[in-house]
Point group: C2
């Protein structure tokens, strides 16, 4: 079971956007340059975030991406769903209804016990990620005292932001 690499990129991109000055936008190319990842591919994932309503996009010369909501209202689960898809990892193909001893459809009023167990685990997974907001991630990063680094990031943002 592997999660797409773009989820990591999108999460870091959202962290960066959370430090963006109000009223400005950051182009996908700038986000890619900041993280040193392929610009076109990151752009693809930014589109996914925009479709999900997590970021808003502005076209044109002074365009770019910005967060659509305050970081407190954005969870890692929403980011992962937007980029990697929200369908369950475990797919039940109703094996119990197949084969020589297969159960008839009318016998299957309750979901298969195996699928139920996996889906319960996925709910625990989702509940955990829903409880982690972007703001909490940012707080864990800036918590450690390193004013020089923080100032460098701020300067880089002001140099590359549009608007």
């Amino acid at each position: 079971m592997r999660m797409g690499e773009g989820v990591e990129w999108a999460a870091h991109a959202c962290v960066l956007l959370s430090a963006l000055p109000d009223g400005t936008g950051l182009p996908a190319a700038a986000i890619a340059a900041y993280h040193d990842v392929p610009p076109a591919y990151l752009a693809k994932h930014m589109q996914a975030l925009a479709r999900a309503g997590i970021v808003t996009s502005a076209r044109g010369a002074a365009g770019g991406y910005r967060l659509a909501r305050p970081p407190q209202e954005i969870s890692l689960m929403q980011i992962a769903d937007a980029v990697d898809g929200s369908e369950p990892a475990f797919r039940c193909t109703e094996i119990r209804q197949r084969g020589p001893c297969g159960a008839k459809p009318e016998e299957c009023t309750k979901t298969c016990g195996i699928a139920a167990a996996f889906w319960a685990a996925e709910r625990a997974y989702r509940r955990q990620l829903e409880g982690v907001s972007l703001a909490a991630i940012v707080a864990s990063l800036t918590g450690r005292p390193d004013p020089g680094k923080f100032a460098r990031v701020k300067a880089w943002l002001e140099q590359n932001a549009n608007g």
Copy 2:
């Protein structure tokens, strides 16, 4: 994030093996016929279960697969790990160390907050699945009163088991 289809097959195969009479083995072809899935492909996943020590294999005319441990000591997590691999779904590529404002390695004593959050969610997922034993799955199936079906399965097993 998608889990391999073989996990479902392997889980159902283990459920079937748990009903196998003591001292007998069930060939992979018979398991595949019971579930109506491609025999050669299921055999591949049975090999994975054997490598993980969940089932034991016996070659030869009276060979086949059987559970290596009582069903109480086999969890869905072990089956999923054996078939789908046990590496974490989220892969941290240390993006924070890349790019113009990248952190230096000596600054990264603590794991990245994003990776830590995802891995914590995966731990919740694993803890949930580790708590579901094969015996519990079997109990949830046989709990519903359907003696006829149970007898049919039993008869099919005795007809197809070796040993």
